[in-house]
C-alpha cells in the first residue's frame, strides 16, 4: 500500500513538473508534428501511398518523440540531483520505477490528441468515432510498452556521456515488437480490418508492456544500487 502511495506521489510530482514546464510538452508535440510533416515528403504527394503509410508514420512519430520525453523526464531529475534526494528518502526503488513509468506513459498518451488529428488531416484518412476509440486504446498500450523499458534505460543513461545517442540505440531495437504491433494494428484501423486481426496485435502490445514492466521493475533496484 505504501509502495502504491509512494509511486503515486512520484506521478503527481512528475505531472506537476510537466504542467509547470508546459514548454517541454509543447516542444515534444511540435517535434512530433514536424516528423509527421517530413514523412509526408518521403512518399510524395501520392495520396494513396500516404494513406497506406499513415499508421506507420503516426507510430514512428510517437517512437521518435518518446526518446525526447524519456530523456527529458530524467534531465529534470539530474539537474540538481533531485533523484538522489528521492533515493536518500526511505523510498522503495520499485515505487520510483513504477511512478516514473506511469508518468512517462501518461506523457506519451498526451501526444495522441494532437498527433492523431494532424496525421488524419495530412494523410487524408477518414476515421469514425469507434475507430478513434480503438486507436487511442492501441496508442495507450504502445505508450506503456515504450515507457516500461524506456524508463529503465533513460534512468541508466541519464548520467552518461552521449546519452542522446545511447538511449535510442538501446531502445529502438528493443521496442521493434511494439513498433510492429502498433503499426500493423493502427494501419488496420485506418484502412479497415476485414479479418479482425487488431485484437491479436493488441494482445501482443499488452503482453510486451506487461512483460517489460514486470522485468524492468525487478531490475531497476539493481540498476540504481549506487545511485544514478
Amino acid at each position: 500500500m505504501s509502495l502504491f502511495r509512494q509511486a503515486l506521489t512520484v506521478v503527481r510530482k512528475d505531472l506537476l513538473l510537466e504542467w509547470r514546464g508546459k514548454g517541454r510538452l509543447i516542444s515534444v508535440l511540435l517535434f512530433g508534428v514536424v516528423t509527421l510533416l517530413l514523412f509526408s515528403f518521403a512518399v510524395g504527394p501520392d495520396s494513396t501511398l500516404m494513406r497506406a503509410a499513415a499508421g506507420g508514420f503516426l507510430v514512428l512519430a510517437l517512437l521518435l518523440s518518446s526518446t525526447l520525453g524519456l530523456s527529458e523526464s530524467f534531465r529534470v531529475e539530474q539537474e540538481q540531483r533531485a533523484i538522489e534526494g528521492l533515493l536518500l528518502l526511505p523510498v522503495d526503488p520499485i515505487a520510483l520505477y513504477y511512478g516514473k513509468t506511469l508518468s512517462n506513459t501518461l506523457f506519451l498518451m498526451l501526444l495522441a490528441p494532437v498527433l492523431t488529428p494532424v496525421a488524419l488531416i495530412l494523410y487524408s484518412v477518414q476515421l469514425d468515432l469507434q475507430g478513434l476509440a480503438v486507436l487511442l486504446g492501441l496508442w495507450t498500450l504502445a505508450a506503456a510498452g515504450l515507457s516500461a523499458p524506456g524508463t529503465l534505460y533513460a534512468a541508466m543513461t541519464s548520467r552518461l556521456q552521449s546519452q542522446d545517442v545511447l538511449l535510442p540505440l538501446l531502445l529502438f531495437p528493443l521496442v521493434i515488437p511494439v513498433l510492429m504491433g502498433a503499426v500493423k494494428s493502427i494501419t488496420l484501423i485506418l484502412t479497415g480490418d476485414p479479418m479482425s486481426q487488431v485484437s491479436a496485435w493488441a494482445t501482443l502490445l499488452a503482453s510486451f508492456a506487461i512483460i517489460y514492466s514486470s522485468l524492468c521493475g525487478l531490475l531497476f533496484p539493481h540498476a540504481i544500487e549506487e545511485g544514478i
Partner: protein, 236 residues
C-alpha cells in the same frame, strides 16, 4: 562529550576496515570509526581526503569495496529502507526541482516519507529558514543560499536520528550559518547524532564533540575540536 552510558549503547555508526576504491584510486581506506549516539563528529581534511566518500558510504549511496558497517546496529545492505528512515544526508547538491515551489518541495519529500505535511506545518518550517514569503515561488529563482537553506530543512522533516551534513555552511551567509549551528546544538541536546564534514574549522570545531582529520582517505588524527585548531595551526 558522549557519556559513559552512551558508550555501552549500540553505536550510531560503526565501520570496520571500511574502504572504497574508484577505478584505481582508493578514496577511503582502513576506516575504523565509531560514532556514539548523541555525538557531534567533525570530519576535517583537505579536498579529496575522503570526507564526502565516507558520508556517502554511511548514507548508503556507495557500496563499500571493503569492510563492513552498521547504522544503529542495522546492516545497510539488509535493511536499506530502515537505515534510510534513520538517517538523512544533505550533500553538495540541492536535490530540487526548479519548477516546484518551496512548499511543494517540502510536500514531495514528506509524502515520500509517508507523512502528510499540513500547510501550517510547512509554513512554520519555512519560517525557520526565513523563506515563508517565498513559499509559492518556484525554487529555480532562488539564490544559492536560499536553495541551501531549503534543502537543509530536510534534516527537520520526520526527525531522523542520524544527521549527515556535507559542507553545511557553504553558500550560507552569517545568519544562515548561525542558524545551522543552532540546529546542530539542538540535535545534540535531543540526543541525535550528527556527522558533518566542513572546511569552516573555526565554526565547526567549536561545535563538535570530536574531530577527525582525514588525509588521502585515511584517518590521520583525532581529538577535540579545540585540539584540531591547534594541530592544524601547528602543521600549517
Amino acid at each position: 562529550m558522549p557519556s559513559r552510558a552512551a558508550n555501552t549503547a549500540i553505536p550510531a555508526v560503526q565501520t570496520t576496515g571500511l574502504g572504497k576504491r574508484f577505478g584505481r584510486q582508493w578514496a577511503l581506506a582502513h576506516c575504523d570509526l565509531e560514532v556514539q549516539p548523541g555525538e557531534v563528529l567533525l570530519l576535517a581534511g583537505a579536498n579529496g581526503s575522503g570526507k564526502t566518500t565516507l558520508l556517502r558510504l554511511i548514507a548508503g549511496l556507495y557500496k563499500p569495496t571493503q569492510g563492513s558497517m552498521s547504522i544503529y546496529g542495522m546492516d545497510p545492505e539488509q535493511e536499506k529502507l530502515a537505515c534510510r528512515r534513520t538517517l538523512t544526508l544533505v550533500g553538495h547538491d540541492n536535490y530540487l526541482y526548479s519548477q516546484l515551489s518551496a512548499l511543494e518541495m517540502l510536500q514531495v519529500w514528506t509524502r515520500l516519507r509517508g507523512v502528510e505535511l499540513s500547510e501550517e506545518q510547512a509554513i512554520d518550517l519555512l519560517r525557520e529558514v526565513d523563506l515563508q514569503d517565498r513559499r509559492d515561488y518556484p525554487v529555480g529563482g532562488f539564490s544559492a543560499g536560499m536553495r541551501k537553506r531549503l534543502t537543509l530543512l530536510r534534516t527537520r522533516l520526520e526527525e531522523p536520528k542520524l544527521v549527515l551534513l556535507d559542507e553545511p555552511f557553504s553558500a550560507l551567509d552569517a545568519s544562515g550559518q548561525n542558524l545551522i549551528e543552532e540546529w546542530i546544538e539542538g540535535y545534540r541536546s535531543a540526543g541525535k547524532t550528527v556527522v558533518l564534514a566542513s572546511h569552516n574549522l573555526p565554526r565547526s570545531s567549536k561545535l563538535c564533540d570530536r574531530a577527525i582529520l582525514l588525509q588521502q582517505g585515511q584517518m590521520l588524527w583525532q581529538g577535540t575540536g579545540a585540539d584540531l585548531l591547534n594541530h592544524v595551526g601547528a602543521t600549517a
